[in-house]
C-alpha cells in the first residue's frame, strides 16, 4: 500500500507528483540522484526543478483533487528508509505518510469550508501561518481544498504568499477547473489536471478499499459518473439511493403541469430536509459546546454570561450559511442525476454504444427516448444545466427548479 493507491485512474498525475517528491528530497539535501537508473523516466525531470512551491490541482468534482493533494503532502513528509534505496516517496507506512494522510501532521494544514465561501479574514490567518518554518524541518504544506470558494478579496490576499512563500512552504490549491482560480493565482501555480476516473476503476476502488459487493460497486460507480465520493455514498447509504431514485422519477412525470410543480416542490423540500438533518446532527452539539466553553449555566437554555451573545450570534450565522450550502449542494446533486438521465436518453436516441449511467432504469430511459426527439433531449439537458447556473446566481431554489421542470415539460 502506498499513498498513491487511492488516486483512481490518474497514472499521469501520480508520475508527475512522484517526480516532484523526489526533487523535493534533493532540495532538502536528503539524497542526491537517488539510486540507480531504474526509474529514469521520472528521474529525468528530477533535479530540483521537479519541485515547486505552488500547485493547482484541477479536475472534475469527485476525481480526487483533494486526495491527490493529500497524497502529495504525505509523500513530501515521507521518511521511509526505503527512499535511500530508491523507493517511491509516499510509502504509506512511515510516520510522516500516516499522519499526513489522517490529518494530524503538524506541518500539513488542510483548509476546507462547509459554507459558501472562504473570506479574507480566514485567509489572512492562513498567510500568517504560512510564513513560519515547518516544525518537522521538512516542508510545511497548506492544502486549500476549496480554492474555488475563495472570494476575490481572499484570493488577492493569497497572491503575495503564493508567489514568494517561505523557503519550505508549499501551497496546494484544488479547484474544479482552471477558470475557477483568478488568473493572477493561476499564473503563480504549476497546473496538474486530473481526469474523470473510468467507471471500472471507481468500482474497483470501492470493492478494494471499502469492501463493497462488486455488483453494488458497479452500480454506484456508474450512477455517480466518476465522482468517487458520491459513488461511495450511493453504495453505502440506502437513503441516498432512495433519494436518487425519487429524483429520477421526475422525467416520467413532467408531462403534467401539476406534477411538474409538485415534483419541483418535493425536490426542494428534500434538499431542505437534507440541510435540516445535517443541522440537527451538528448544530445542536456545536451550540452546546460553545455555550459550555463560554461558561453557560448547566442544562439546556441556561443563563449565559454577559457579553457572550456576539459569539453565539456568530456561530448561528455560520450555521445558517452552512445550511444554505448544504441545501444547494444537495439540489445540485439531484440536478446532476437528472442530467445523467437525459444523457442516457440521448445515448439511446442516437444508438450510441456504451453503458448507460442508469442501466437499472433502461425501460424508463427507452420510453422517454421513444417519446421525444434528440433536439428536445438536448434542450432538456440545457434546461437542467441552466437551473444549476441559476442556483449559483442565487435565484430562489423553488423558482429555479420550477422553471426547469416546466422547461422539461415543454421539451
Amino acid at each position: 500500500m502506498s499513498v498513491w493507491d487511492d488516486l483512481v485512474g490518474q497514472e499521469q498525475v501520480v508520475e508527475q507528483l512522484v517526480a516532484a517528491a523526489r526533487s523535493a528530497r534533493v532540495v532538502l539535501g536528503e539524497s542526491g540522484r537517488s539510486g540507480d537508473s531504474r526509474n529514469s523516466g521520472a528521474e529525468e525531470q528530477s533535479g530540483s526543478s521537479g519541485m515547486t512551491h505552488a500547485w493547482l490541482f484541477t479536475g472534475p468534482p469527485g476525481s480526487g483533487m483533494a486526495t491527490a493533494a493529500r497524497a502529495f503532502a504525505a509523500s513530501l513528509q515521507c521518511t521511509s528508509p526505503d527512499l535511500e534505496l530508491g523507493g517511491i516517496p509516499g510509502c504509506g507506512f512511515c510516520e510522516g505518510c500516516h499522519t499526513a494522510l489522517i490529518g494530524s501532521h503538524a506541518d500539513v494544514e488542510s483548509v476546507r469550508t462547509d459554507v459558501l465561501s472562504i473570506g479574507v479574514k480566514e485567509t489572512r490567518e492562513l498567510v500568517r501561518s504560512a510564513s513560519m518554518s515547518p516544525a518537522g524541518g521538512r516542508w510545511q504544506v497548506i492544502i486549500l481544498e476549496d480554492s474555488d470558494r475563495l472570494t476575490e478579496g481572499a484570493a488577492n490576499v493569497l497572491l503575495k504568499a503564493i508567489e514568494e512563500p517561505a523557503p519550505r512552504t508549499v501551497w496546494l490549491l484544488c479547484a474544479p477547473s482552471v477558470e475557477d482560480a483568478l488568473p493572477t493565482i493561476r499564473s503563480r501555480c504549476r497546473l496538474l489536471v486530473l481526469r474523470t476516473p473510468p467507471v471500472a476503476a471507481v468500482a474497483d476502488v470501492l470493492v478494494r478499499r471499502d469492501g463493497i459487493e462488486p455488483e453494488m460497486a458497479a452500480f454506484a460507480a456508474r450512477a455517480a459518473q466518476g465522482h468517487i465520493g458520491r459513488a461511495r455514498r450511493l453504495a453505502l447509504d440506502a437513503g441516498a439511493r432512495e433519494r436518487r431514485a425519487e429524483v429520477l422519477k421526475l422525467p416520467l412525470r413532467v408531462a403534467d403541469l401539476g406534477a411538474c410543480l409538485a415534483g419541483a416542490q418535493s425536490l426542494v423540500d428534500a434538499a431542505a430536509a437534507d440541510a435540516k438533518q445535517v443541522a440537527e446532527e451538528v448544530d445542536t452539539r456545536e451550540t452546546e459546546e460553545l455555550r459550555a466553553a463560554l461558561g453557560a449555566a448547566a442544562g439546556v437554555g441556561g443563563r449565559m454570561p454577559r457579553g457572550t451573545a456576539g459569539a453565539m450570534k456568530e456561530l448561528e450565522d455560520r450555521q445558517k450559511r452552512r445550511a444554505t450550502r448544504t441545501q444547494r449542494d444537495s439540489l445540485d446533486r439531484a440536478l446532476i442525476d437528472l442530467s445523467s438521465f437525459y444523457r442516457d436518453v440521448l445515448a439511446v436516441q442516437f444508438g450510441a454504444a456504451g453503458e448507460l449511467s442508469n442501466e437499472e432504469m433502461r425501460q424508463a430511459v427507452e420510453r422517454v427516448a421513444g417519446e421525444s426527439r434528440p433536439e428536445a433531449t438536448l434542450r432538456r439537458i440545457e434546461a437542467v444545466l441552466a437551473c444549476r447556473t441559476a442556483l449559483e446566481r442565487n435565484v430562489a431554489p423553488l423558482l429555479a427548479v420550477e422553471a426547469m421542470a416546466v422547461a422539461l415539460r415543454a421539451g
Binding site: 403541469l257 401539476g258 410543480l261 446566481r393 423553488l398 423558482l399 422553471a403 415539460r409 415543454a410
Partner: protein, 327 residues
C-alpha cells in the same frame, strides 16, 4: 375603538390597551380633557415610558396641600419593572381619592398580570387595536371627516387612503387639512387637487394585476412599488407565488372538498377561492412561460443584469401576456 359616550370619563382608573399610537393618544387626551373640564386646576402628570421609578407612585398619589384633582398617565405600562408593578398593584387595592390613574398598555402577553389586576379593580377599558384591514382604515377616514362635520364621498376616502398611506397620524392630519381648506362635499377631485400619487404599493398588488392580465395597470403599479422603495426581489417573489398558486390550483383535483384541497395545496380556503377567480385566461403553457420569465427576472434582479427595473417590466409583461394565453 370602544368609545361609549355614556361612559364615565372621570373614572378613577382607566386602562388604554392597544398599539395604535394615535388612538392611544386620543384616548388619553380624552380622559385628561374631561378631568380638566371638571376642574380647571387639575394637575396632569404624563409619565413617559420608563419615567415611573419605584417609590414615585406613592409620592404622586399622596394627597397634596391644595387637595387638587390629579391625573397620572403611565405610558408603556407593560414595560414597568417588577417592583413598580407591585406598587401599582398595591395602589389599585387602595386607590387615593381625587386621583385618576390612566395606564397605557400595549396588550399582549408582556405585563399581562398588571392589566388583569387593573381590569379586576374595575377599570374603564379603552381598546385601540391596530387597524390592519383596508376596510377599517376606510372607516377611520370616514369617521375623521364626520368628526369635522364634513361629508366626503366614498371615492374620496379611498383616494386619500391610496395617496397618504396607512399611517393613522398622517391620515388624520390630511383629513383635518382637507376639512379646513375646502368647502362643500369632499369628493375625488378635491382630494386629487391636494394629494396625488400612491404612498404604498406592494409586490402582491403588482402580482394580482399581472396574473389577471391587466398589463397597463400592473406596469403602473410596478412603477409605484419601485418608487416607494419595494425591493425588486420581493416583487419577483410575489409574482412567483402568484403564478405558482395559479398553476397548483388549476391542476388540482376538481372533485376535492375545499378543506382537503386547502390542506393539499397548503393555502387557506379564501385564497383558493381568489385564485380560482384569477384562473380565467390561463393555460398550462402560459404558466410554464410565466414561470420561466420570472426565474429569469429573479436572476436579473440579483445582479444578473444592469437594470432590475427593466427586467421586472419585462417579467410583468410576460406574466400578463401568459394570463391571456387561452384567448
Amino acid at each position: 375603538m370602544a368609545k361609549k359616550p355614556t361612559e364615565d370619563l372621570l373614572a378613577p382608573l382607566t386602562v388604554v390597551v392597544g398599539q395604535e399610537e394615535l388612538l392611544l393618544d386620543r384616548a388619553v387626551a380624552q380622559a385628561t380633557t374631561a378631568a380638566r373640564q371638571a376642574d380647571p386646576d387639575t394637575d396632569v402628570r404624563d409619565l413617559q415610558p420608563g419615567a415611573l421609578q419605584p417609590g414615585m407612585l406613592s409620592e404622586l398619589t399622596s394627597p397634596s396641600l391644595f387637595s387638587e384633582r390629579k391625573v397620572i398617565v403611565v405610558r408603556a405600562a407593560q414595560d414597568l419593572a417588577a417592583d413598580t408593578v407591585k406598587e401599582v398593584k398595591a395602589y389599585l387595592d387602595d386607590p387615593a381619592p381625587e386621583v385618576m390613574l390612566v395606564l397605557v398598555h400595549a396588550g399582549g402577553a408582556k405585563g399581562k398580570a398588571l392589566l388583569d389586576a387593573a381590569k379586576k379593580a374595575g377599570a374603564r377599558e379603552v381598546t385601540c387595536p391596530k387597524l390592519t384591514k383596508p376596510a377599517e382604515k376606510l372607516a377611520f377616514v370616514r369617521a375623521e371627516f364626520r368628526a369635522t362635520g364634513r361629508s366626503a364621498s366614498e371615492d374620496a376616502c379611498k383616494a386619500l387612503l391610496d395617496a397618504v398611506g396607512s399611517d393613522l397620524r398622517e391620515l388624520a392630519s390630511a383629513c383635518s387639512q382637507l376639512a379646513a381648506d375646502t368647502e362643500g362635499t369632499i369628493d375625488e377631485t378635491v382630494v386629487a387637487r391636494y394629494y396625488t400619487g400612491r404612498a404604498e404599493s406592494s409586490g402582491f398588488q403588482v402580482a394580482d394585476l399581472a396574473v389577471t392580465g391587466r398589463t397597463a395597470e400592473a406596469l403602473g403599479q410596478l412603477r409605484w412599488a419601485l418608487a416607494v422603495g419595494e425591493k425588486p426581489t420581493g416583487i419577483v417573489f410575489a409574482l412567483a407565488s402568484g403564478v405558482r398558486s395559479i398553476g397548483r390550483v388549476a391542476t388540482a383535483d376538481r372533485g376535492m372538498r375545499p378543506g382537503d384541497l386547502a390542506r393539499e395545496l397548503g393555502m387557506p380556503p379564501w385564497k383558493i377561492d381568489r385564485v380560482r377567480q384569477q384562473l380565467r385566461g390561463w393555460s398550462g403553457d402560459g404558466v410554464a412561460a410565466a414561470l420561466r420569465a420570472i426565474a429569469d427576472a429573479d436572476a436579473a434582479v440579483k445582479g444578473g443584469s444592469g437594470d432590475p427595473a427593466y427586467a421586472l417590466e419585462q417579467c410583468v409583461v410576460a406574466v400578463s401576456r401568459a394570463a391571456r394565453s387561452q384567448r
